[in-house]
């Protein structure tokens, strides 16, 4: 029996979701294309079509700023993706062992994901405070003076550290799920063949975890290439634009006066193309290494 086929009820039930989804997700995603071709500046009744003007501006007048933002975004994305993956795989393998405190470790490492970006950002603003934070106190002990987040040479590295600190628990949980789906017999077989420790990790665990690595890498790339919230709290893009990622650049453009929001839309399109390309490349290489069992 197919009770729904000739009935109006299924559509009625779908309606609220379809309306909300179209208005607040679908339209904004597609609408970016349109707004990037206008001089929309916040006044919904008065804006004009300007063709590719916004894109021209991004690649001529604002070339330095945009290119700097793209460069920082790529550094941020690649470093975070590599570090976070490597660390969280190791952590997942470690907490997957039968240790007395396993669940304590797991919860502690995962905790920042519950606290949210604002709280995490404020915690580290305090810890990295150049006057009264513990880090600068510690450095003073060794006669090192540093403005930490205020120093354009190391601000990006510190932001990357906070990003990994805040999100590695999330990837760890995903890897843990992957590890627990690997059949134990495979390890026994490997053990009989003389592989244990590092060898069984390298030849059994890693290959079978590859599909999880793909998922993690793609999630991280999408996340980091668009990042601006953590930067908004920690540095606001400064000092000297040294932490100005593309996401942050777009965000500031939306709210800075004089600059049209249409221009921000054009930058968001550029961002979309970059995300699409990077995800495509990463997916291609990562999927090729996946093994079935």
């Amino acid at each position: 029996m197919n009770r729904g086929a000739s009935n109006i009820w299924p559509w009625l039930l779908l309606m609220p979701a379809l309306i909300l989804f179209s208005l607040f997700v679908l339209f904004p995603t597609i609408g970016n294309v349109y707004f990037s071709l206008t001089d929309y500046a916040g006044n919904i009744h008065n804006f004009d079509f300007v063709g590719l003007e916004n894109y021209k501006r991004a690649f001529t007048a604002d070339y330095d700023g945009v290119w700097n933002a793209i460069k920082i975004t790529l550094i941020f994305c690649i470093t975070v993706t590599i570090l976070q993956n490597a660390i969280s795989i190791v952590l997942a393998v470690l907490v997957n062992q039968k240790l007395k405190l396993s669940s304590f470790y797991r919860s502690t490492i995962f905790m920042p994901n519950i606290l949210g970006i604002l709280v995490v950002g404020l915690i580290w603003t305090l810890v990295f405070d150049p006057f009264s934070g513990p880090v600068s106190q510690l450095l003073n002990h060794f006669k090192i003076n540093s403005a930490l987040l205020g120093d354009s040479k190391i601000a990006l590295a510190l932001v990357i550290f906070v990003q990994v600190w805040a999100h590695m628990g999330y990837s760890m949980v995903l890897y843990l799920a992957g590890l627990q789906s690997i059949p134990k017999e495979l390890y026994e077989a490997a053990y009989i063949d003389g592989a244990s420790g590092w060898k069984s990790f390298r030849h059994v665990t890693l290959p079978l975890l590859q599909s999880m690595v793909t998922i993690n890498i793609i999630l991280m790339i999408i996340g980091t290439l668009g990042t601006f919230d953590i930067i908004f709290v920690l540095t606001n893009g400064g000092p000297n634009e040294s932490t100005m990622t593309l996401g942050m650049y777009i965000f500031t453009k939306i709210f800075s006066g004089g600059s049209s929001q249409g221009y921000a839309s054009a930058l968001a399109m550029v961002q979309f193309v970059i995300i699409f390309c990077v995800v495509f490349i990463a997916q291609f290489y990562s999927r090729r290494r996946e093994t079935e069992f």
Partner: protein, 273 residues
């Protein structure tokens, strides 16, 4: 015993070090929150000598947190409840393929997980529909944004509920909507807990959307209230730290009791294959 010790020594040492790196910054916030400003300025990293519980009261009153707390609760409750109900209603016809193109609809909801949200068009539509700076506008927008993951998790869950149940209910004369609300919904409790927790945490913690879509101070939730407060009182870290703890407390309590649902939601939400 000796072998056991040496085998678990290294993992324990590494994990303990990591746990300390996680905990020390959080404990430092607690430490600072309990100090008087004078003690903090004189000795910012020593362990607090005389806990100043009044810092919490001062943070609560000087940042006008009672309004923000109320707003945070309203947003969190209605967004989480809204996402669960709207997504359940949509997931049932999709999971049972009761409409033409249900596969397409499913993919449409899923695709949003990979597409970046356009802030500018979203601002436009919020203004166009007069939803800027209103409770209902903000809640509706957040529900819309949370649907993708929810529909994905619910559809998978409903596919695991036997179809025979639908048929038995139909024979007994149970209507379509009544079936979903009175029979299906209670069965979906684990999935609803998971999705509800995820959207509640997301809404409670969100500070970008309130910053963008809510202008009046009276409408803002805790997060953006605290962010504004930070701008006014950069110098007084003990009060700010107390404010941070006030925001984090409900989350930590929820995490301790409902960890299972949160973790299962994260795993389910990301393994979309």
């Amino acid at each position: 015993m000796k072998r056991f010790l040496s085998k678990s020594l290294l993992p324990n040492a590494v994990l303990l070090a990591v746990a300390l790196i996680m905990l020390i910054p959080m404990l430092q916030i607690v430490n600072v929150a309990l100090k008087s400003n004078a003690e903090f300025l004189a000795n910012p990293i020593s362990i607090v000598k005389k806990p100043q519980w009044s810092n919490f009261i001062e943070a609560w009153t000087s940042a006008e947190m009672s309004i923000y707390f109320f707003n945070s609760f309203i947003y969190t409750f209605f967004v989480a409840a809204g996402v669960c109900i709207v997504a359940t209603l949509a997931a049932y016809p999709i999971a049972r393929k009761h409409v033409k193109g249900s596969n397409f609809l499913y993919m449409l909801f899923l695709s949003a997980l990979f597409l970046p949200a356009g802030l500018v068009p979203l601002l436009f539509i919020m203004k166009y529909l007069n939803l800027m700076n209103t409770y209902h506008g903000f809640i509706l927008m957040k529900i819309g944004g949370g649907l993708s993951v929810a529909v994905f998790i619910f559809t998978a869950f409903i596919k695991g509920i036997p179809k025979e149940l639908d048929e038995a209910a139909a024979i007994d004369g149970c209507g379509y909507l009544r079936y979903v609300l009175t029979i299906l919904l209670p069965l979906m409790k684990p999935a609803i807990m998971t999705v509800g927790m995820l959207s509640a945490i997301g809404t409670w913690n969100d500070f970008i959307s309130p910053y963008v879509f809510l202008i009046d101070k009276e409408l803002r939730p805790l997060t953006s209230g605290l962010y504004m407060f930070m701008g006014e009182y950069t110098v007084n870290w003990p009060i700010l730290a107390s404010g941070i703890l006030i925001i984090a407390a409900p989350l930590l309590i929820a995490f301790i009791f409902l960890q299972k649902f949160i973790v299962s939601g994260i795993t389910a939400g990301s393994i979309k294959g």
